[in-house]
Amino acid sequence: MTGVYEMAEKSNIISVKNLSFSYNRKEALHDLNFNIAGGDFISILGPNGSGKSTLVNLISKVLKDYKGKIEIKGTDIRKLNSYDVAKMVAVVPQDNNPGFNFTVYEMIMMGRYPYVSRLGTEKKEDFDMVRAVMERTETYSFANRKYSELSGGEKQRVIIAQALAQNSPILLLDEPTSHLDINFQIEFMNLFLSLNKQGNRTVVGIFHDINLAIQSSRKIMLLKEGKIYNFGSTEEIISRENISSVFGSDVFVGKNPVTKKLYVSPVFSPAASGKVYGREIKKQLSIHVIGGGGAASPVINLLCGSGYKVSCGVVNTLDTDYNTAQMLGIPYVSEAPFSPISKESQNKNIEFIRSSEVVILPGVEFGNGNFLNLLSVKEALKLNKKVIIIDEKSIRRRDHTGGKAEKLYSSLLKGSAVVIKKYDHILSYL
């Protein structure tokens, strides 16, 4: 079996050369060139209007008046009939609206269309195949129910079963799970993954959810304005720069600590309009945030998302706040894991404070190891910096130094610092 797999792996199952396509003179795809190897799992990502669905429609021969060449298993699809293409390429669409109230069984049997002769009727192999895909997709139990009476998840299973009944080596997924709840999305991704791995089918998918695509795909194609922006292995393609440039919105890319797969999350940006609570944002402000134990992360995220120049310190390497600073690419001062803050690090931290206009102290837990951070805040007040203290949780419960931190903190509260109760109000105090 592995031998077959490797052979398929070597040859290109889909080969696209100089492909361009226009809808009424408006160019949707421009000069695409790429190859897809047999057995691969590829996601096509791009914003709305980037040409993803057009590409799927071209490969499945729904759209015909294109320039260039599309080859499947080495054959130009222009030379193939619709039913020959349907034997090699099955599309799983987002939804399906039959004009009539067909039963589930009738719907799935339609997947055998390319195999049934016009003058004949379904043969044993057609019934066997439909039975097999119904078992695979767990649709057997409601085979005789009307399609229109099914739930969203059940309907999608029927659509997938219909495509699988085509028994094609290539599956094209056109946002097949975007109507569905997360549990179904996961269920169907697992199904596609197993079809790819055990069934040796080549899967090319458009997914609504970037993370869903990353979890499953070996390769990713980024489309932007009808052109291939980038195409390569998932690890290569998924970067903050690529995603931001293609989708036009800021994200950060991290690694899931459990699966070791990349994930992308949007940088929350309430201030995209340039105003918060009616106030203008002074984006040129530099802000230094005291970090530790993850207390600074939501604050840093909010400030970065609002476009401020943010720095952070002193944090231990591997600390949550350290990861956040790294992901967002902001300057930071760090200390070795589980080590107390050194004099040297503290000096660096104070340097940052010196060059900032505002210093923020979030609800960090204090022990002897990071007591110097609290001293740095005192220093900031001395330097006449604007200090904002986020006093969400009582210091008594955050003090692990036996009263030393509490004493200093209380004196800071009495000073010229601005004290607020919740971090999400912070933008209005800047």
């Binding site: 429609n57 669409p93 004009g99 109230n101 009738e106 997947g111």
Partner: protein, 349 residues
């Protein structure tokens, strides 16, 4: 496997109803002929069986009435009904539209205008035993269909919406022209109205032998496209993904169904509701699978039109009323009753 058994069951039941209807229809009329005699005469007319039946004791006038007057009309009614219902199934499937019937794309108005021209301006013996009116009606129906189709076709694709709109617009215009002609020739108005309302009064063996083979061939050829029609009802894009040569097959079926309806209309005039309602009723009974729906609807269409025509020619004896009136008066309430009773959405639009 299961489907074949179901299809067979439905078709056998419908055939049985059809045969009983034929016997009943042949026995009813101005001249009263008993059911038993009617049965005997009918069997004796079947080639090969006549030597087993002795009809010499029966009234020879009855034999002539049945074999020369009633039977051609009965058979013509059945074939026209088959043509209208099967065209209706195809139009509804192609357009995924519950309002589609064989007349939506202008077959009826074209036929009416053609027939009016034939009735009003031309007097002649007609062609091959078919009346001039029928020939003109056929020409009118086909020309209109062709026009509507050409308007709706852009770059090899046929847009359903444009097709329906062009059909409605052109029908309105042709209708007005028909009325215009009628106003100038008031003397012929009754003839035209009677023709437009539909009827089989002109039925004869000669018209039957021209129309029936045409309808048979057209209906059977269309029958080979029923799996395509199932898949096409999922929408053009999905159908293409599943391997249907959508544009080509839609064009073929559109032409076939229009031609079938035009042939029927040329001999029967415009008989409404058979093509619209029969497929709906059958869909409620046999389901939406066109492989079952098509043959059963065709047979049911034959039965519906035969029964309607029998009522039309007997209910106000000796006067005849246009069969189109009967199909609407009886067909529509029955259809509405089924709709309410089933409380099912037969169409998802």
């Amino acid at each position: 496997m299961e489907r074949r058994a179901r299809t067979l069951k439905y078709i056998l039941v419908l055939l049985l109803i059809l045969i009983l209807s034929i016997v009943a229809a042949a026995s009813i009329g101005a001249a009263k002929i008993s059911l038993k005699d009617t049965g005997l005469i009918l069997v004796s007319l079947i080639p090969g069986l006549n030597r087993f039946i002795d009809v010499s004791r029966l009234d020879s006038q009855d034999i002539v009435i049945i074999s020369q007057i009633r039977l051609p009309r009965i058979l013509l009614a059945i074939f026209v009904g088959i043509a209208l219902a099967s065209a209706g199934v195809i139009f509804q499937g192609l357009f995924r539209n519950p309002m589609a019937d064989p007349f939506v794309i202008g077959v009826s108005s074209g036929a009416a205008l053609g027939a009016t021209i034939g009735l009003v301006f031309i007097s002649g013996a007609g062609l091959l035993g078919i009346s001039t009116t029928a020939v003109f009606a056929l020409i009118g129906a086909l020309t209109t269909t062709f026009l509507v189709y050409s308007i709706a076709r852009t770059r090899g694709k046929v847009s359903v919406i444009t097709l329906l709109l062009a059909g409605i617009a052109l029908s309105a215009m042709l209708g007005s022209i028909t009325y215009f002609i009628m106003i100038f020739k008031v003397s012929d108005m009754a003839k035209v109205v009677f023709w437009v309302m539909g009827g089989l009064t002109s039925a004869s063996w000669s018209s039957f032998f021209i129309v029936a083979p045409l309808i048979t061939v057209l209906v059977i050829i269309s029958g080979f496209f029923m799996m395509d029609l199932n898949v096409i009802s999922l929408g053009d894009e999905r159908a293409t993904q599943l391997g249907v040569q959508t544009d080509k097959i839609k064009k073929t079926m559109l032409v076939m169904a229009s031609f079938t309806a035009a042939v029927a209309v040329s001999v029967s005039g415009i008989i409404g509701f058979v093509g619209l309602i029969t497929p709906h009723i059958l869909r409620l009974i046999v389901g939406p699978d066109h492989k079952i729906l098509y043959p059963t609807s065709a047979l049911a269409g034959g039965i519906v039109l035969l029964l309607s025509d029998t009522i039309a020619r007997t209910i106000l004896m000796p006067r005849e009323i246009p069969v189109g009136i009967i199909t609407s008066i009886i067909g529509v309430p029955f259809f509405l009753y089924l709709l309410v009773k089933s409380k099912r959405q037969i169409f998802k639009v």
